[in-house]
């Protein structure tokens, strides 16, 4: 992960924590959907996945993330790249997410 703008990766992650999966009620960071963040000048590139290929929330979550990041100061361009490699696995979830889903 690189960092060349005034916005930090931590701030990007914090912003993405406001984007929720409306079925699970958990944000995409704690769900472990964010694989990588690259910051370059006024552009942020997010490599992310979804819990399942063909997730009906595909557009809503991706566009929600894009919209959220565009609100960060100094960010004018947002690229959301969706990947299935590696596929999402529940082990990627945070402890808080595990507790929320009842299997911690």
């Amino acid at each position: 992960m690189s960092q060349t703008t005034q916005v930090t990766e931590a701030e990007v992650l914090e912003a993405l924590k406001t984007v929720y999966d409306p079925e699970l009620g958990l944000d995409i960071v704690n769900l472990g959907l964010i694989y990588a963040i690259e910051l370059h000048e006024d552009t942020v590139h997010i490599l992310m996945t979804l819990t399942t290929p063909g997730c009906p929330m595909h557009d809503a979550i991706g566009v929600g993330a894009e919209r959220t990041l565009k609100q960060l100061p100094g960010i004018n361009h947002v690229e959301i790249e969706l990947t299935w490699d590696p596929p999402w696995d529940p082990s990627r979830m945070s402890q808080a997410a595990r507790v929320a889903l009842g299997f911690a």
């Binding site: 079925e23 557009d59 979550i61 566009v63 894009e66």
Partner: protein, 423 residues
């Protein structure tokens, strides 16, 4: 890898809300009519399972509630799940209109014993179902990915094409009687293809997508599901042909046994999916879909016992109880559960998806009135079990009484689903 940008999201995967929603709400209305009608009509099934009012009731369920719901759900979910687009949305509107009119005419034809309504309604249903099946088959077969669910849906759509034509043939035979004494054999084939092929394979295929998605049940292999698909597609046509063409009893027993094993195999695989889930809490809408395979197991075991020990004649009380468990307990409850997940998703997607990242949006479960859904779940399941016992014991009054909680549950679910539009 896919890139999501504001100007370039999956083109065409989003269809106008009114197409699936019209079908889903029509299905919910049909479920209420079925629930109320069953209180008065179901006892008739004891004396004459092929009475016209009974047939009207059965087709309100199969063509009305279930098929309308499945059509609405498939129009919405197939493009999304397969990351493709419907080939012809205007055609889908035509199909929907023809289908809704056809079902109303057909059921009215049964209810009022009017052959003209039956023939015209049946013809419209055949045309509309054919349009639907061909359209969806093309959409699925041209999609960039075809997972296990898609394979089940391809098979189920082919069975849909067959079952509506068998049904129209049976309906026309009411008037002209050209099938003579073999009419009942066509009815058996119609039942197997419709219940097992069209409705059963659709429910199984959709379960393989929705259960892992909603319960976070990730598994490394779908090989078992593919194996079941092969077994089901060998045994279902085998049983339909054996019954329809009066094949030897040994053949019926053999393919029937394979079918029973395959269905029990699905129940086992469903249980494995649930065991592998990461989301421990099963919400009340999912409870319907989770309880449903239990009735499949119960129905298959009861049916197998009837055949093995010669416990009942065709259309006798035990067979009626078995059919009720399979139809209402498995198919009906699966449809009910998924309906209560899909409608909130559609409405949420239309109303709130564009607000993510701008403001706090409700979760899908916030759109459903959960206490109502919980009450409906217990009323439905209590009623189904009571009804199966009442049918098995051939008690007309108990059959009517047991139908009341089921009707109440269906009314509550319909109110809840309509309520989603206003939350």
């Amino acid at each position: 890898m896919e890139t999501i940008a504001s100007s370039a999201r999956q083109p065409g995967t989003t269809i106008p809300l009114r197409l699936p929603l019209s079908l889903l709400l029509s299905g919910a209305i049909a479920s209420v009519l079925l629930g109320i009608g069953a209180i008065f009509v179901l006892p008739e099934a004891l004396t004459d399972p092929q009475a016209l009012h009974v047939l009207a009731l059965v087709h309100t369920a199969t063509l009305g509630w279930w098929t309308m719901t499945i059509m609405g759900a498939m129009y919405q979910l197939v493009p999304v799940v397969l990351v493709t687009r419907l080939r012809a949305v205007p055609l889908a509107y035509c199909q929907m209109l023809l289908y809704l009119i056809g079902v109303v005419l057909l059921v009215s034809g049964f209810w009022f014993n009017r052959i003209a309504l039956l023939a015209s309604g049946g013809t419209l249903v055949v045309v509309a179902a054919t349009l639907f099946a061909v359209h969806l088959l093309e959409t699925i077969l041209l999609a960039p990915r075809r997972p296990l669910t898609a394979a089940y849906l391809v098979a189920s759509l082919v069975y849909l094409l067959v079952v509506v034509n068998l049904g129209l043939t049976a309906a026309l035979n009411f008037r002209w009687g050209f099938l003579g004494a073999s009419a009942y054999r066509l009815l058996f084939a119609h039942l197997v293809v419709g219940l097992g092929g069209w409705l059963g394979l659709t429910v199984i295929g959709v379960s393989y997508k929705l259960v892992p998605m909603f319960a976070l049940a990730h598994r490394s292999s779908e090989r078992f599901g593919w194996g079941l698909l092969i077994l089901l597609n060998l045994s279902l046509p085998g049983l339909a042909l054996s019954l329809g063409l009066a094949g030897p009893a040994g053949m019926v027993d053999l393919v029937g046994g394979v079918l029973a094993l395959a269905l029990l195999g699905f129940v086992y695989d469903f249980w494995r999916m649930l065991r592998a889930r990461r989301k421990q809490t099963i919400d009340v809408m999912q409870r319907f879909a989770v309880a449903a395979p239990g009735y499949l197991a119960l129905g298959v075991l009861l049916g197998s016992a009837i055949v093995a020990f010669h416990l009942d004649d065709a259309f006798g009380p035990l067979w009626l109880a078995t059919a009720y468990l399979l139809l209402m307990g498995w198919i009906g409850q699966s449809v009910l559960g998924n309906l209560q997940k899909i409608v909130p998703f559609l409405v949420w997607n239309q109303r709130y998806a564009s607000r993510i990242g701008r403001e706090k949006v409700p979760l899908l479960r916030d759109l459903i009135h959960l206490p109502t859904a919980r009450l409906a779940f217990w009323l439905f399941n209590g009623g189904i079990l009571a009804e199966a016992v009442a049918l098995a014991l051939a008690q007309p009054l108990a059959i009517s009484l047991a139908a009341i909680p089921v009707a109440l549950a269906l009314i509550l679910c319909a109110i809840n689903i309509v309520g989603v539009l206003y939350r």
